[in-house]
Every structure is written in structure tokens, then in C-alpha cells.
Symmetry: C2
Subunit: 261 residues, 2 copies
């Protein structure tokens, strides 16, 4: 079995290395990860610049590259160019910080797994709900290892990735596993306004998560209450209900829209 490992925190991130140690007894590991941290890059790809890929000498893996691009670049480049063998699973993470609710759209970690699905591979994204630089990844990596064994045995539904968020607490205090839907994440004080030495205004994106009431079935609720959250995510954004509804618009109305007559 072969696993492609990537992330958005960059190739030196502790979360990624905790997974190498855990997964290299299960499968051959290929690491293709960004050279620098890529948080917030979402599903972006590098179209105006060349992408450098340099072989990385990482103990315990089959082969690795550090890539001067986004997490999605990494997965595209790995599966289409760098890794000659076929991949059985794409694992993105472990991210240092959760990726929950609406935030998955901004997340390089989740987008890398989404790209894995687009390229046709079973894919998971894993995040630990802590920004503490000293956070212990042991439980999160161990859990991911057990999950990966199951996935390699049982397979994953096509066109779906699993987004996994792990609460940051001692293993014995993790209450269980919940299959969840995406919750909502909204922020206040989103921009910090400053002036440069020449008096020009600039902004830092910042903001704190608003403490909103959450659906008990949501990923946000699950992690807040001490559960591992697993959300199956699909990539067909079509709102089929509305396609149906608007398809009932009259020819006359549509013709008016089209030609203004």
C-alpha cells in the first residue's frame, strides 16, 4: 500500500511528522508538502509562477519532495508527476488547528484532500483542535493510524473525502467519535486597520470566532464537546433543489432575460 502525505503547515510541521511515524508501518509513505506554511490558501493553484519541487531527505519514508506551491499544487504534482506508483490513499495533515464548518473552504489542509478526490484517490484531512505550539499529536496520530488501516481495508466512497477534527485533550478524556455535518463559523473584528510610515492604510485579517449556538449534529459542536468529528464531504456544489425549481421558469421569461424583448 502507498500513502501520499501532504499538509498546509509546511513540510517541517510536527503534525506531518507525527503521521510519518504512525503510518510508515502500514504503508509506503510519499511526502509531497509545501516548503512554507500555506494556511488560508484554500483551493488555490499556482498558475502564474513555476513550481519548484526539491527532493527532501526524510527518514522513514519512501520518497519526499518539498514544493514551492500550495497544498493543492502538491497533490496535483505528486499524483500527475512526482510519484510514479499508484497511490492508495491521500492523507492531509495533521493540521495544527481545527478546520471546521464554513472554514473548510479556506483550509489548505481540507483542499489538499479535496484535490485528492478530484484526482480520483480516497482522501482524508486531519486536524488537531489546538494552536498551542507544543501541542501533543500522539493521540491524534494514533487515531489517524487506526482509521487509515480501516480505510485501506474497507475503502472509501468515491467523490467523498473525510474531514477529521480531533479535540485537544488527554486521550482518556476524548468522549467518542461523531459523524457530523459542517457547522457555521463566523468571526468578529475581522480587520485590524493600521497605517504604514507614509500614512497609507493597510489591514491585517484577524478576528475571533463568534460564539454562536451550534447544531448538536455539527462538527463544531462535536469537537467543542470532546468528540472526534468525522464529516463526509462531497464536491458537487450544485443546489439540485433550485435547479429543479428554476427550471419551471417560462420560456417567455427566459427569452426576456436573454434578449430583453
Amino acid at each position: 500500500m502507498r500513502i501520499l502525505l501532504t499538509n498546509d503547515d509546511g513540510i517541517n510541521a510536527r503534525g506531518l511528522h507525527s503521521l510519518i511515524t504512525e503510518l510508515n508501518t502500514i504503508a509506503e509513505i510519499y511526502v509531497v508538502a509545501p516548503r512554507t506554511e500555506q494556511s488560508g490558501t484554500g483551493h488555490s493553484i499556482t498558475v502564474f509562477d513555476p513550481i519548484k519541487a526539491i527532493e527532501a531527505n526524510i527518514p522513514g519514508i519512501k520518497k519526499g519532495w518539498l514544493v514551492g506551491g500550495t497544498p493543492v499544487d502538491c497533490v496535483k504534482l505528486a499524483t500527475k508527476r512526482l510519484v510514479p506508483e499508484s497511490i492508495d490513499l491521500v492523507v492531509s495533515g495533521i493540521n495544527h488547528g481545527s478546520n471546521l464548518g464554513t472554514d473548510v473552504l479556506y483550509s489548505g489542509t481540507v483542499s489538499a484532500a479535496a484535490e485528492g478526490v478530484i484526482m480520483g484517490y480516497p482522501s482524508i484531512a486531519v486536524s488537531l483542535d489546538s494552536f498551542d505550539p507544543a501541542a501533543d499529536f500522539t493521540f491524534a496520530a494514533g487515531f489517524t493510524g487506526r482509521l487509515v488501516r480501516e480505510i485501506l481495508k474497507e475503502g472509501l466512497p468515491k467523490t467523498t473525502l473525510f474531514n477529521i477534527n480531533i479535540p485537544f485533550r488527554p486521550a482518556e478524556e476524548v468522549k467518542g467519535i461523531r459523524l457530523t455535518k459542517l457547522g457555521t463559523r463566523n468571526y468578529d473584528n475581522l480587520f485590524d486597520e493600521r497605517r504604514d510610515p507614509r500614512g497609507n492604510i493597510y489591514y491585517w485579517l484577524g478576528g475571533g470566532v463568534l460564539n454562536e449556538e451550534q447544531d448538536p449534529d455539527s462538527d463544531v459542536y462535536a469537537v467543542e464537546h470532546g468528540y472526534v468529528s468525522i464529516t463526509p464531504i462531497h464536491l458537487d456544489l450544485t443546489h439540485y433543489g433550485l435547479v429543479k425549481k428554476f427550471s419551471r421558469l417560462s420560456e417567455q421569461y427566459l427569452n426576456y432575460l436573454l434578449r430583453g424583448e
Copy 2:
């Protein structure tokens, strides 16, 4: 009425200016658009750098800013900081080139409209199916104008954006309007491998669209066959069917996954 206009081709793009001319008789126009082209930036946000916003003097609009960031940055900054009045509609486009099928995930144009929805505003993304630098935007802008009038009158369903793709052909040869689902877009020869003067390998992301059979209900099919495509897009990526299916896993199995016991 007030419209926020943005894009991913940059504030000087012809597609954006064609919309100013068309929409400024309908509503007050605020333009908040990237300083430089941002194609392929998807839903990325700028978290590691400050974001500069400079007032732009554009005739025919209420107020404008050019922003040193992504299309999603523009919408966040506009709605949270720059535009003091409430916005009635976010319009992203007109993009120079289509945004169809799976490609909407990489599209800054569509992501800007998605961010509009996340911020709570009715939002549409508009793209013209041509990369010809001299492409005529007249029909596309006129159509968008008629659609915007209707949307401002009738409203849009919350949490949904409309992704509009307009075929590039003379107005009288546009066959009609179709409400569509997202099709598929796959590419071949995705990476072009080169060597720098020091012998190091680098890659350019390129590739041509694979000519695949398309569902007749899809956006790709509609535009290829001369129809304006309107796809309602929602942002809840949860695969509810699988949440339900996996929720039937036994406590024992989940406990094994959790603790390995």
C-alpha cells in the same frame, strides 16, 4: 440599491468595466477588486501579509478600491470595512474565460461570490467563455444587467450563489438559458517540466481540457452547445447520505477506532 462589484482578473479588466457601464444605471456601484490578476486563487485569503486597499478613481461608480489581495479578501474587506452602506448584491466578473464544473473550486471569480454568500449577501459570478483578449463583452454585460434587475426585484435564495457562464458567440446565436448542474473538467498533460540554468527541475501548471462526454444537464454541455448556463451553488459540502450511513457503525467499532482496544 447598492452593488458590490469584484472580480479575479484585476481592477483593470475589461469584463469588470463592461459591468460598471451596464449596472450603474440600476444601482450605486462599489468596486473592490484585486490590484493584479488572481486567477486560480480559489477561496484563498491573505493571512500572513497585510492587505493594502487604495482608493481608485473610476468614473461612473460611487466609490472604488484596488486591493493587494485575493478576490475573497476583497469581498471580506469591502463588506466588513470599506463600504459603510449595506450591500444589496455582490457581482463577481465578468471573468475572461469560463468557470465550469469542478473548476469552480479553483476560481477566484466564483469564490468571491461564495464569500458574498458567506457574508450574508445575495451573490452571483459571471464568466464569458472566451480567452480571446479582444472578446466582446456587450451581450454578456447586457444579459447580466437584465438578470441583476430581476434579482434585485425578486431576491435570491439565501446561502446560494448563481454561477453564470455565457457562451462566446453573436447574441442572435445564443440559443437560450439553461439551469444546470456542475459538470466535470479534467485536464491532460498537467505539468510542463523544465530545467533552470543551474539544472534544477521546475514545473509549469498547464494542460488542456479533456474532451469528455458530458451530462446534457451540466453547465459544460450547456455552454458548449450555445446556451447561457446558470448553476445554483450552495456551500454546505456535507455528504448527508454518508453521515446517515456511517452513523450506523457500532459503538464497539467506534470505540476500537478511538482507543485501539
